[in-house]
Symmetry: C2
Subunit: 337 residues, 2 copies
């Protein structure tokens, strides 16, 4: 993810930023398996990418004493914005939450592709950002760079959201659509893993936890809730049989793992479960692909649906670019330098 963003930054993203009068200097990169480097004057992205591609380490590009931990890196890297794209522990939202918190506390804007911080700590992180006069942005936390949070914030003035429902987990969508075509659950899972859609350990997808985390991120950001994944009523697809899948098809519908959020007696509730009705709400069938789809239930504008075709790493990367542009945006009207 981070690597792809760096590649795009050298290409189209760089052009977009320059058109807006912005020059980005990458002053530090911390990776899980390829070391880290801080260079106040800016790193040579080409060199960094060559190092990583050749299996080398970024450490040799580092200037000064090496930070002992990534958190130490976050505390020291000289920057205006932190892009947080670490692998997530979906049970705790770490280490993303700690990284975001540390960066905001230092007065950096933070852009994350992680749903964890939004699902587990949206309010404290947003409050911290406000105190510091910085932005905490997370458009790619759900459905990659597809505008969801920005759509509601920028394009639905005066509207109050009543709830949402959607199919947000591509692994289960792909598995169920392949089962519709006759594959066994196991065969479908193997294909999803072969295509790099499912994790090597797909349990969090199959048991609905991944969807629950996304549902909490949406509920917290769009419905002003304070829900965490442990509070979500959750059922996965492990128990779904080919017979049930076929029965749904005969009824001209499709089983999908659906996330729902809505207000029930003044509280926001989130649930996850296989659903023949809105697993593919009319107009949002994810067809034979892993496409994600989300329906927003509003008071003044009825139901609006958004869906994403593909869900590639490039689409997640775009969400980071979109948030980066927002974080450093000039006040309206002012011309770029």
């Amino acid at each position: 993810m981070g690597r792809r963003f760096a590649e795009l930054l050298r290409g189209p993203y760089g052009r977009v930023l320059r058109r807006q009068g912005l020059r980005v200097r990458v002053t530090g990169i911390a990776t899980a398996r390829h070391g880290l480097a801080i260079a106040p004057r800016g790193l040579d992205l080409g060199r960094c990418l060559r190092q990583v591609r050749s299996g080398g380490s970024l450490d040799r590009l580092h200037h000064g004493t090496r930070p002992a931990t990534v958190l130490d890196f976050v505390a020291r890297v000289p920057a205006d914005v932190l892009l947080e794209v670490t692998a997530l522990d979906p049970r705790r939202g770490e280490p993303a939450v700690s990284h975001v918190k540390a960066a905001l506390a230092r007065g950096l804007h933070v852009v994350t592709a992680n749903k964890g911080p939004v699902a587990f700590a949206l309010r404290p992180l947003t409050a911290l950002a406000r105190r510091k006069g910085r932005r905490f942005l997370y458009e790619s936390a759900v459905m990659d760079g597809t505008p969801i949070f920005n759509l509601v914030a920028r394009c639905l003035p005066g509207v109050r959201l009543r709830g949402f429902r959607g199919t947000l987990n591509s692994t289960t969508s792909l598995i169920l659509s392949r089962m519709e075509e006759g594959l066994t659950a196991r065969g479908a899972l193997r294909e999803a893993q072969r295509r790099g859609i499912a994790e090597a350990d797909p349990r969090h997808d199959l048991d609905g936890w991944d969807s629950a985390v996304k549902g909490c991120a949406l509920a917290n950001a769009l419905l002003g809730a304070r829900v965490t994944p442990a509070q979500v009523r959750r059922r996965g697809i492990a128990a779904i049989t080919p017979k049930e899948v076929r029965r749904a098809l005969r009824a001209r519908t499709r089983l999908r793992l659906v996330v729902r959020g809505g207000r029930e007696d003044r509280r926001v509730r989130v649930s996850v479960g296989p659903d023949p009705e809105s697993g593919s709400p009319k107009g949002t069938r994810s067809g034979s692909g892993p496409d994600a789809a989300l329906v927003l239930e509003t008071d003044l504008m009825g139901e609006i649906g958004v869906f994403e075709r593909g869900a590639t790493v490039d689409q997640t990367a775009y969400g980071l670019l979109s948030d980066l542009l927002e974080a450093v945006r000039r006040p309206r009207g002012k011309r770029p330098l």
Copy 2:
């Protein structure tokens, strides 16, 4: 449409506007069959609605000499914003184009629910608005109040649209979906008319002209084109047989009337025709309803889909409210009065 907006202005829309520190005074209303009235100090909307509901005329609420024509009304009504919701002659885009032009020339902001001005005269009208320092807004011209133009303008920074495709005509979508269930084309049309979805004269829907006008509005606004409906390659659904509909179903797809826009050798081309593939592009199946769906084909963000459930007059009215709020929006940061 106008009547419904007036009703909502007395209720939820009024509350939304007040929350933003805005008070709306309706200084004039011109109708097709219920006369017109101008009242510089503001009309009593309740009284206007009672008049119209009881089949009366607004003329008796008019102050001063009566404008001879609606265009005369537009030239004289004292206002900051004109809401243009006249019935459209889809062949010429009139009288909407003339109304919009006259109002902008006078220095009014213009909000329209009409696709005509966007399909037939976007550039001159936008240029005129810019010269006058006013806004010309038309979110509800396509897919009612569903954010399309605003989504692209506000939520996809740096993105270049390559093209679009969608099912935008609810009459043909409903007819084709009913044919899938065994109805004849004629029976399906009668139902669409009974449900008030199809016009008494549905020719512009069936022959694809309505879709062509919408396609031009999208192409002009989103792809910077200068196309008019007469230039659109167009095929309607009149010739579609129940047999073709069933054949498509057996192939696990659905026939829909699809609008496509895209760049071909440096020119933007728009086409309309029945399409089994993207008539219901995966993820946008309009199911058994008349829901509209649009897929945006982008350079940096892949494909993004938006769809609308229902398509009610309230959803068109919301587009007007959304544009009205944008037209009179205070500069960022400033608190409402």
